[in-house]
């Protein structure tokens, strides 16, 4: 019977006048459709089990969720469509033989976040430490292509030891590297988020380097161009992954991280919230949210918050929280370059990016890091059609030999460049100080604000009265008898101070209006509505020459 069936399935030529003919297969004795479906179900279950119970337990013991739990939190219920579940490594390398790598350690797919689609590439540490294998990278490449074609955001959940060197330790490396170039092509076209939820060494460290938003889970995540073992081998340094590239380092010192978060849940929540401010791509406008916070809500607390004495500091974060919808502000890089506050909020439901000087740190003066922070934030908002709101209280750029050695001119130029280039609606409120180039980079009159208003405390000038007197009247003061010099200087400082008045700037119509501080919220909200259809044409160029 078996032999007959076999024979029946093998086509045998039949002799005839018209040449050879083939007998059709008439019998089929393979598994039934039901059995095939059962086999598929079993295989899927096997692949969905990731690296197995033991490794999943280890993942949990480190206070980490599994990759599938993370995706469950990231996407709206029932919306995730996975690509490449049944993929696994195809390597012929001896080190890879006998290894089973479900999904090849990299889950990819598309789901909805707050009702809008986003693509994901999520590394699974339970499968060969989430290393990037060749098949996993084929999947990731497909996801990058789909995200770009669909014009939807892409999110990486990174928990990965980096490249899988068991597959490719040699010169086949010569063909690799597409991922970073593709990220650059996608930059400013679709939002890119790289959530650091575990290690991200080498290959997975430049992904966040090129992404727009990088939250880092405290204690569990780290990123470095090389992990501790390679560092030891290459330069002899003994250092742990956490010391070298933990959230403490990147969110407070290097500025590579954007937000330190307590755990996986908080991280995913931050990703969802971040994307809520963004359009799906640069072709769209950012979505307007519903809010019950009235736009004409007066912020009387600001009258007491901000000292009229321009020398006294106050907490700018409180000012920001007071004026935005529901007091809800989403900070970017809050623990790095703290002399400048950057982040997202809404006025009357309309999203905007806020850039505000923080007098609590460095007196609100700008230094190299805050200039970088501002430039990057402005480019981010401008790329995705998110209006900018500048809250100015800036005594200027920090001066002195220290900052010159750090290249303050180069870094300050970056901020000038970004603010000048931005064509999204730009609203400026001068709270108190607007001095020198600080006034320019905080979007002063020459930088095309669509509305420029000041508080009655606004003081705009090329420099403070003391500095001006030291330059203008130095010779006269030095020529006076020593006992009269102080009085003379003070008199002249008073004269110059009288020239610094918001009513002079308003009298020339260089500022559009002076406003009651309690109405700041309402004024910004109205301005965002008024400037909604802004269009700016610039002369054609391939690109500017960025002062980096």
């Amino acid at each position: 019977m078996a032999d007959e069936a076999k024979a029946g399935r093998q086509a045998t030529p039949a002799a005839g006048e018209d040449g050879p003919k083939f007998m059709p297969t008439l019998t089929y004795e393979g598994p039934s459709m039901k059995e095939k479906v059962e086999e598929l179900r079993e295989k899927r279950a096997q692949f969905e089990a990731m690296g197995g119970p033991e490794r999943i337990e280890r993942q949990r013991s480190q206070n980490k969720l599994t990759v599938r739990e993370r995706l469950g939190l990231l996407f709206d219920d029932g919306t995730f469509m996975e690509y490449g579940l049944l993929a696994h490594h195809q390597s012929q390398s001896p080190q890879m033989q006998g290894r089973f790598t479900p999904a090849d350690g990299c889950i990819t797919g598309i789901g909805e976040i707050g009702g809008r689609r986003a693509a994901v590439i999520a590394y699974d540490f339970t499968v060969m430490a989430g290393s990037i294998g060749m098949v996993g990278e084929i999947k990731a490449t497909r996801m990058r292509e789909l995200a770009l074609k669909e014009r939807i955001p892409i999110v990486w959940l990174i928990d990965s030891a980096g490249a899988r060197i068991q597959e490719a330790a040699g010169s086949t490396f010569a063909r690799s590297g597409d991922l970073f170039r593709e990220q650059v092509v996608m930059s400013g076209v679709i939002p890119q988020v790289a959530a650091m939820m575990g290690p991200g060494a080498a290959g997975t460290a430049y992904i966040p380097g090129l992404a727009d938003f990088v939250p880092m889970v405290k204690g569990n995540s780290n990123m470095a161009l090389a992990g501790p073992h390679l560092v030891k081998a290459a330069v002899g340094e003994d250092v742990s992954a956490e010391e070298m590239g933990g959230s403490e380092v990147h969110c407070k010192v290097s500025g590579v991280g954007d937000l330190e978060v307590a755990d996986d849940q908080e991280c995913i929540t931050a990703v969802r919230k971040y994307l809520s401010f963004f359009p799906s791509s640069n072709l769209d406008r950012p979505p307007v949210a519903q809010t019950s916070d009235p736009l004409d809500r007066r912020c009387e607390d600001l009258i007491d918050l901000v000292p009229a004495n321009p020398r006294k500091a106050y907490d700018m974060r409180k000012l920001v929280a007071s004026i935005v919808d529901d007091h809800d502000f989403f900070p970017m890089k809050p623990d790095w370059a703290k002399n400048l506050v950057t982040g997202f909020a809404r006025f009357g439901g309309r999203p905007c990016g806020i850039i505000a000087n923080q007098p609590m740190f460095l007196g609100g003066a700008l230094d190299v890091n805050s200039a970088d922070k501002a430039a990057r934030f402005v480019w981010l908002c401008d790329a995705f059609n998110i209006p900018l709101v500048f809250l100015m209280d800036c005594p200027g750029f920090l001066v002195g030999s220290q900052v010159e050695k750090q290249g303050i001119i180069r870094h300050g130029a970056k901020m000038l460049f970004a603010v000048s280039e931005a064509t999204v609606p730009k609203i400026t409120v001068v709270i108190r100080k607007g001095y020198g180039a600080g006034y320019y980079v905080m979007n002063g009159r020459a930088y095309e604000p669509d509305l420029l208003v000041g508080w009655p405390t606004a003081e705009i000038s090329v420099m403070g009265p003391e500095g001006a007197v030291n330059i203008i009247f130095r010779k006269q003061i030095e020529a006076a008898p020593p006992e009269q010099q102080d009085e003379m200087r003070n008199q002249m400082i008073g004269m110059v101070r009288d020239q610094i008045s918001p009513y002079i700037a308003a009298g020339w119509s260089f500022v559009d209006d002076l406003i009651d501080p309690a109405e700041t919220r309402q004024v910004i909200g109205k301005a965002l509505a008024v400037t909604e259809s802004k269009r700016v044409e610039r002369p054609w160029r391939k690109h500017g020459v960025l002062p980096v």
């Binding site: 020398r311 006294k312 007098p359 460095l362 007196g363 005594p395 920090l398 003391e466």
Partner: protein, 70 residues
């Protein structure tokens, strides 16, 4: 021992504590003056002021020790 350092170059405008004073976290030790602003330097730990290394009218550089707290 915790050293409180200056985060920027500045003039020392007011010194508000003396050696031997007890301070609590968040207290202002000195007020610097830089970039047209008063910049309060707060103590980051509670303890006793062991040393004050600045005087009113003096200048501090970024990273200079302002006071030592034990």
């Amino acid at each position: 021992m915790v050293e409180i350092v200056s985060e920027m170059v500045a003039n020392v405008w007011k010194v508000l504590v003396s050696v031997g004073d007890q301070v609590t976290e968040g207290d202002t030790l000195v007020i610097l003056e830089s970039m047209k602003m008063e910049i309060p330097v707060e103590v980051t730990v509670s303890g006793k002021v062991e040393e004050v290394r600045v005087v009113e009218g003096g200048v501090v550089q970024e990273g200079d020790v302002i006071a030592v707290i034990s």
